[in-house]
């Protein structure tokens, strides 16, 4: 038995090694490099060297621009997450509870199609719609409703939120749907047989049971939106940058690898911490409503 186990482990390791080595070399090693660079002294033209310093991190704390951009990225992505998940829940609920089983796949397919069409095109289309002289402006002017361009896409934060909430919407529906599907329907009948109203049954049975899906949805929307590059780059000609734009500027425009690396590390830590907090808050909410 011991022999089979060790040969099994060997086969397992042998098979996993190509993808593991790939991820090690192209993901783990670069991330480790960034962490190391972040505590070195940055030179001109992308060079880094000794001595080891905490200056890059000190700069993030001291310079208000860094803090402002990190904070903006955080609250934009939290708002986008909130909007996206709150809008997605009823949709997932509808598909899970009110659509005939044979047609569920079709509904999900319908919801996911927009996600599978080019992200760049979807984002750019919002500028065609909301931008200066875009569809909204042109149409309102030609109908005589307006006499000047609204240029909604230049409104900064609200424009970013609309566009990102749209871009990441389908991500939120799927995990919530999956967890709702697992809810034992007989529990709901039991709840109603025992005299609970439909709404109370939802609050006390369905919602708590679907929290794992909500947590997954929250993370799946929050993480990529914090790091979104394209939307803030386009909105207001990049005057409202988020973390990804800041890192790009530090690394590629200013060629300060040490400072850029420190920003990347801080944003990774921030994403990690906020994710943990979000998971804890969601769990507390699930527990609290029991």
């Amino acid at each position: 038995m011991a022999q089979t186990n060790s040969s099994e482990a060997k086969s397992g390791w042998l098979l996993i090694s190509p993808p593991a080595i790939y991820a090690g070399l192209l993901l783990a090693a670069p991330l480790a490099t960034v962490v190391i660079y972040s505590v070195l002294t940055g030179g001109s033209g992308g060079s880094v060297g000794l001595p080891v310093t905490a200056e890059n991190y000190a700069a993030i704390v001291e310079k208000p621009i860094y803090g402002a951009i990190l904070w903006r990225s955080l609250y934009i992505s939290l708002l986008v997450t909130l909007v996206t998940v709150v809008l997605a829940y009823p949709v997932a609920y509808f598909v899970s509870f009110h659509v005939k089983p044979v047609r569920k796949s079709l509904w999900l397919f319908m919801i996911t199609i927009p996600f599978w069409t080019s992200y760049i095109i979807r984002v750019s289309l919002w500028f065609v719609i909301l931008g200066y002289d875009g569809i909204v402006d042109q149409t309102l002017i030609s109908l005589g409703i307006l006499d000047h361009q609204l240029n909604i896409a230049s409104y900064g934060v609200p424009a970013i939120i609309i566009i990102l909430a749209h871009a990441y919407a389908p991500f939120a529906v799927l995990p919530i749907f999956v967890s709702l599907e697992k809810v034992d329907r007989s529990l709901l009948e039991a709840g109603q047989d025992l005299g609970e109203s439909r709404w109370m049954t939802f609050l006390r049975v369905t919602l708590p049971l679907s929290i794992p899906g909500v947590i997954a949805a929250v993370l799946i929307v929050f993480i990529p939106t914090v790091g979104d590059y394209v939307t803030p780059k386009l909105v207001g000609d990049g005057k409202v940058p988020m973390i990804a734009n800041l890192i790009e500027t530090q690394l590629l425009k200013l060629r300060d690898f040490a400072q850029g690396s420190a920003l990347a590390v801080v944003s990774m830590v921030m994403v990690g911490l906020v994710s943990v907090v979000l998971v804890m808050v969601s769990k507390r909410m699930a527990g609290g409503s029991k």
Binding site: T33, Y37, H98, R122, L125, A244
Partner: protein, 269 residues
């Protein structure tokens, strides 16, 4: 089904919001006006003709196809290794190793791209289509692993044991029994990673040093109002293309589930 009129209305409105920008694509792709606005001005194929005459677009398209084919092949192969290893064998350290492979799913793409870029620049490696492929394989492999893991999971282990009992080796069992049964999953993984790579922007933009790739080209063109109608025409073609690929992937996924006798448990992801 008609018990929840409010929920149904809400869901339909939600779908309308999701589809609104995409529905504009075909409407304005055929609209005979340089200005993208209502009211419509009549039908034209001018924008499609403009597209087909565009040399830069053809180069970008060729580059994107080379990248997407390489990325989908490589990440599906890596995905087969990882999924097979994790589903079939027990070994220590599975959690952390698979965690690392799946990490790009929960890591902002920009961070992964920038970390890789810093290393490439520090090592003095010239940015090229090859470096784009390296980066995108990293992003696509987790999707391949997810799809293939469910394909391998729905496989009945006793079929393999029967084959081994009848004298086949481990390799020939894999080739004759396992591979054909998970083939639909492999095709689905290939198509989905192809689509992701084809649409991908961040890595294509930063790890390619301005090499013309389709997504980067589209991003650049949208800045010029005169180019927008042609880009909407291109978008229309791409949307139709993506939907076809996904419909094929979904077909294979379902056939795979039917073939191994499993139950359908929802769509992608």
């Amino acid at each position: 089904m008609s018990k929840a009129p409010i929920l149904k209305t809400f869901t339909l409105l939600y779908l309308a919001f999701l589809y609104a920008p995409i529905l504009l694509l075909p409407i304005f792709a055929f609209n005979d006006s340089k200005v993208v606005a209502f009211p419509l001005q009549g039908l034209t194929l001018q924008w499609f003709r403009e597209l087909f005459a565009d040399q830069n677009l053809q180069i970008a398209l060729k580059n994107s196809l080379i990248i997407a084919l390489s990325v989908s092949t490589l990440s599906t192969i890596l995905g087969i290794f990882a999924a097979r290893s994790s589903v079939r064998y027990k070994w220590k350290g599975k959690g952390p190793v698979l965690g690392l492979i799946m990490l790009p799913l929960v890591l902002p793409e920009m961070i992964a791209a920038m970390a890789l870029l810093v290393v490439l620049l520090s090592l003095g490696i010239q940015l090229s289509l090859f470096t784009i492929i390296l980066g995108q394989v990293l992003i696509c492999t987790p999707f391949a692993v997810a799809i293939l893991t469910s394909a391998f999971q729905s496989l009945d282990r006793s079929l393999e044991e029967a084959s081994m009992d009848l004298g086949e080796t481990q390799m020939s069992t894999f080739r004759l029994i396992v591979l054909p049964l998970v083939m639909p999953g492999i095709l689905a993984s290939f198509l989905i990673t192809f689509t992701i790579s084809f649409d991908e922007f961040i890595i294509a933009n930063f790890l390619g040093s301005g090499k013309p790739v389709l997504s980067v080209y589209i991003f650049g063109q949208f800045r010029f109002p005169a180019k927008v109608p042609a880009m909407l025409a291109l978008g229309t073609i791409l949307v139709v293309f993506s939907i076809c690929l996904l419909a094929i992937a979904e077909y294979f996924r379902r056939r795979g589930i039917a073939r191994t006798g499993g139950k359908d448990s929802g769509g992608f992801l």
